[in-house]
Amino acid sequence: MKSIEVHYYAILRDQAGRRMERVETGAATAAELFDELRARHGLALSRDAMRVAINEEFGDWEHPLETGDRVVFIPPVAGG
């Protein structure tokens, strides 16, 4: 098990009902972590619509997670 810090923004914050949480997980990758949290919180977005950031930089869904990683799921953006 590893300890991951997850931050939620915008529509995901509304759906998860929280800004952040520390998750104890067996998920090997960001993709597995998202699928786990999606089921837990009933998140109504799928990965193909989103990007992921790991430790304050855009990352790959298949990137292996390590304890202490800070993960942010990024729903479709709408600046401007």
């Binding site: 923004y9 529509i11 799928s46 709408a78």
Partner: protein, 242 residues
């Protein structure tokens, strides 16, 4: 001066524009994005912008660096608002100073287009009918997400799978059917539509009607209003094997 920054309060571009002044520049182009009172046919009353600022600033700075390099302009600044904005307020400003106007226009256009598509900023619109939505997110939330409909052979199977049943048939329809057939909640569609009944938040619900049409419409409606774990029984009660 930073190339890309956020402002949590209303700002005037004047100070940022002045900071772009450069004796080698003969042209200055700028873009201002304002809050519009409508979007996709709906009347917008106000907006909220939210950003993942750490990464947004990194990505914004990368865009500015790309534009400087690609168009050979001298100076660029971009400021984006966060927080609550009223109609007409300045949401984003881009300023570019260059030796000549062509590259100033091109770089300005590049920056605003890339910022819109790449920087982690989200916009929530509040509409005149009291509804609200995250722009670019609500549609993909319904299009790519969980299936709206589920199939079960029996209502017992649905309950065993952890769903609380919600019968949305009208009272007279239930009276015509043996009562006790369906444990769970009763939320007649007409009463929901009239605002007289609501579903408790946070549940995992299977919405049920006679043929699966009204339950599907209500499921879409509930998904858009804070009930992510709501499903419709495909085909309704008529499709059950009983």
């Amino acid at each position: 001066m930073r190339g890309f920054s956020f402002s949590a309060a209303p700002f005037s571009p004047d100070a940022f524009r002045t900071a772009l002044a450069d004796p080698a520049c003969g042209g200055y182009a700028s873009f201002e994005g304002w809050v519009r009172d409508h979007n996709e046919g709906r009347r917008v009353l106000r907006l909220e912008y939210e950003a993942y600022e750490t990464l947004a600033i990194k990505e914004g700075e990368r865009i500015v660096a790309e534009a400087l390099e690609r168009f050979g302009v001298r100076r660029i600044a971009c400021v984006h608002r966060t927080g609550d904005l009223a109609v007409g307020e300045l949401a984003v400003w881009v300023g570019v100073a260059a030796a000549h106007r062509d590259e100033a226009f091109a770089a300005c256009r590049y920056v605003i287009d890339e910022v819109k598509h790449r920087v982690p900023i989200w916009k929530k619109e509040h509409y005149s009918d009291g509804d609200s939505g995250w722009v670019n997110c609500e549609r993909c939330a319904t299009a790519h997400a969980e299936p709206l409909e589920l199939e079960f052979a029996t209502l017992a199977a649905a309950r065993a799978a952890g769903y609380e049943l919600v019968d949305v048939r009208e009272r007279w329809e239930r009276d015509a059917d043996p009562p006790g057939l369906m444990p769970g909640l009763h939320l007649p569609l007409s009463e929901y539509a009239a605002g007289r009944s609501e579903l408790p938040a946070g549940g995992r619900y299977l919405i049920v009607c006679a043929h699966g049409v009204r339950s599907l419409a209500l499921t879409e409606e509930l998904r858009a209003h804070g009930h992510p774990a709501v499903y419709s029984l495909r085909g309704g009660l008529a499709a059950l094997r009983v």
